[in-house]
């Protein structure tokens, strides 16, 4: 479903000079699989996900998402994905219902299907009570539910989620995790980036660790355990980054 082939992104700026934020990264993700992309801050996770979402153009290499190439068919790629970044916000002056309708229209959803799908997601995420309230009046959890609903609205085959549960309370995070698990069961291909190791361990089928723009390793929890000799993901993560273990 997703094939990332030697993708690189180099930035040039006056302060840092030229630096490779993503350096020849390759991996594959299948349908019905959750792939966790882990790494410390500034490792290149967000840039990789932005490249897959076609927000940025690769300096070299490419990625093919459900048959669409990010270099040659970016608009088609965007039709195949639901992209959510922890940094994304909602239109403060619109209500969740208006936001969902707007993104439904952008995704070319027919009005009837759109209304049905919005209702489905609102029920799944418990959004009916605040569907008509302006977003600037909503709590963080309500906003994040709206953002998740927006990402899943057009029922895309691929979900790219960058820290979707960041800053959420446990009940809201659990609702979102359940929605992700449901999406996985229905055959969606999911790339999931997080700093919460327990969450990655619980949700992801395979994990890739990225550092300094390079993908250090990929594998299932079992493969990572065997490769590092560590048991918990947190220990594996620290080991792969060459950082001292917790005392």
């Amino acid at each position: 479903m997703i094939q990332v082939l030697e993708i690189s992104k180099t930035f040039h700026d006056s302060k840092r000079g030229t630096h490779a934020a993503v350096d020849r990264v390759s991996f594959e993700v299948q349908a019905g699989e959750v792939f966790g992309l882990l790494g410390p801050n500034g490792a290149g996770k967000t840039t990789t996900l932005r490249l897959l979402a076609t927000l940025l153009k690769p300096t070299s290499g490419t990625a093919v998402l459900n048959g669409c190439d990010v270099n040659t068919a970016p608009a088609q790629v965007r039709g195949q994905i639901g992209f959510l970044s922890g940094d994304m916000r909602l239109y403060a002056r619109l209500t969740p219902l208006e936001i969902l309708n707007f993104f439904g229209e952008l995704n070319g959803m027919e009005p009837q299907w759109r209304a049905k799908r919005i209702n489905q997601l609102m029920t799944l995420l418990g959004m009916h009570d605040f569907a008509g309230v302006r977003t600037d009046k909503l709590s963080t959890g309500m906003k994040q539910k709206t953002a998740i609903a927006r990402t899943m609205l057009h029922d895309p085959p691929i979900l790219i989620l960058d820290e979707p549960s960041s800053g959420l309370d446990v009940p809201t995070a659990r609702t979102i995790e359940s929605a992700i698990m449901d999406a996985k069961k229905s055959g969606k291909c999911i790339i999931y980036s997080t700093h919460v190791m327990e969450e990655a361990e619980y949700l992801c089928d395979r994990i890739g660790v990225i550092d300094n723009g390079r993908l250090k390793t990929t594998g299932t929890m079992q493969q990572l355990r065997e490769a590092t000799g560590k048991h918990r993901l947190r220990e594996i993560f620290l080991d792969l980054l060459g950082l001292p273990q917790d005392k």
Partner: protein, 391 residues
């Protein structure tokens, strides 16, 4: 380009803009409320100052040091009470009287009027005294001529008449054209500034742009949808300003000298044809302004930064907009190529009623080309990662 996508973006932007307090203030409140209120206050204040000056002058009176009875009688005719004062200039300066008159004996005697021109009361009293004395002088000359047996018409060997061939419509059009184009064009830029910053730098600052960019809408569709929404805001501001100005001037309570001005303004030539021509002129200007401001505001990372980028543009617009309304320029096809200036001048010509269709066509075509170029640049900029993700 897919029309339903552009339409969805346009609808969303308009909804978002109409719920933004800053946009509503610049787009609607300023033309619909602030402008008429300011105008009403200014005209009421002018009339009141005129009335107050007259009342105050009647209360204060004038200091008169005159010996000729006819001169005293002429001064009494002004209706101002006459007083004696030692130091005439000082009494005027200290406002113990509105003005003063001194007759200096000699052959002929000289009459000196003391006024404080920084004080409207004193200035008004001075004008009235001058008129009374002039009338007395004419009367005295007439009597002298009669006494000498010289016919009165010796004073007027010929008469001069200045005839204004411009009709009332043309005069009103000229007066309106001097200010209307300037105000409308200026308010189009200031009115469009907030919505455009909001939908560019504002989106970046609020971090709502990424979700938009990750949708299947192409960058071009986003730019077109947003530019049309901005253009609507700008055009709406222009038409509201136009309507508000016409209403304010037609309903102004002007008194005294301003009555003449009001009567002329009442003949404003804003018929359906004129309005249609002005609206047709303003549409490409609105697209041009929207795309230009959109491109500039895209470079900003925050609303504040956007304001500091766009404010100088408003100052750049002032000069051609003001010059276009000034009388004395003959609009040629070459001048019709200067953006902003051409629209301002063409509005003047349309209101005066002497707009040539060639110049109108050249202005319209030139502004459409500028609008197209600006929209193209806006799209190019919107495709640049370095502009969109500038940190």
């Amino acid at each position: 380009m897919r029309f339903p996508i552009v339409q969805a973006i346009y609808k969303k932007e308009m909804l978002d803009l109409l719920r933004d307090r800053r946009t509503l203030i610049s787009m609607m409140i300023v033309p619909l409320v602030v402008f008429p209120v300011l105008f009403r206050v200014a005209t009421a204040l002018t009339s009141r100052i005129e009335e107050q000056s007259e009342t105050e002058a009647r209360t204060l009176g004038i200091a008169a040091r005159v010996t000729t009875p006819s001169l005293r009688a002429a001064l009494e005719k002004t209706g101002y009470p006459l007083f004696e004062r030692e130091d005439l200039p000082a009494s005027v300066e200290k406002k113990s009287v509105a003005a003063a008159v001194e007759e200096i004996p000699g052959n002929p005697p000289r009459i000196r009027i003391y006024v404080d021109n920084s004080n409207p009361t004193s200035s008004a009293a001075g004008d009235k005294i001058r008129t009374a004395i002039d009338e007395l002088r004419v009367e005295r000359i007439r009597q002298s001529l009669q006494n000498s047996g010289v016919p009165e018409n010796v004073l007027t060997p010929f008469t001069v008449t200045r005839t204004n061939v411009a009709g009332a419509r043309k005069m009103a059009g000229s007066a309106w054209g001097n200010i209307l184009g300037y105000v409308v064009l200026l308010l189009m830029f200031t009115g469009g500034m907030y919505p455009i910053i909001d939908m560019t730098a504002g989106e970046k600052e609020r971090k709502t742009l990424e979700a938009f960019l990750a949708s299947p809408a192409t960058r071009r569709e986003i730019v077109i949808g947003k530019t049309f929404a901005a253009m609507t805001a700008i055009f709406l501001t222009a038409m509201l300003t136009l309507g508000s100005m016409v209403y304010s001037l037609k309903n102004a309570r002007l008194g005294g000298k301003s009555q003449e001005f009001k009567q002329m303004m009442d003949t404003i030539p804003l018929d359906a044809g004129t309005i249609a021509m002005i609206a047709a002129l303003l549409i490409p200007v609105a697209i041009f302004a929207a795309a230009l401001m959109f491109t500039i505001a895209l470079f900003a990372r925050s609303f504040k930064e956007g304001q500091s980028y766009l404010t100088p543009l408003v100052f750049v617009v002032i000069i051609p907009a003001l010059m276009g309304g000034l009388p004395g320029f003959e609009l040629t096809p070459a001048l019709c190529l200067i953006p902003i200036f051409n629209a301002s001048m063409m509005i003047h010509s349309v209101l005066v009623g002497d707009a040539s269709m060639v110049n109108f066509g050249v202005t319209l075509a030139a502004n459409l080309v500028y609008a197209g170029i600006a929209a193209l640049i806006a799209t190019r900029m919107f495709e640049k990662e370095s502009v969109l993700f500038r940190t």
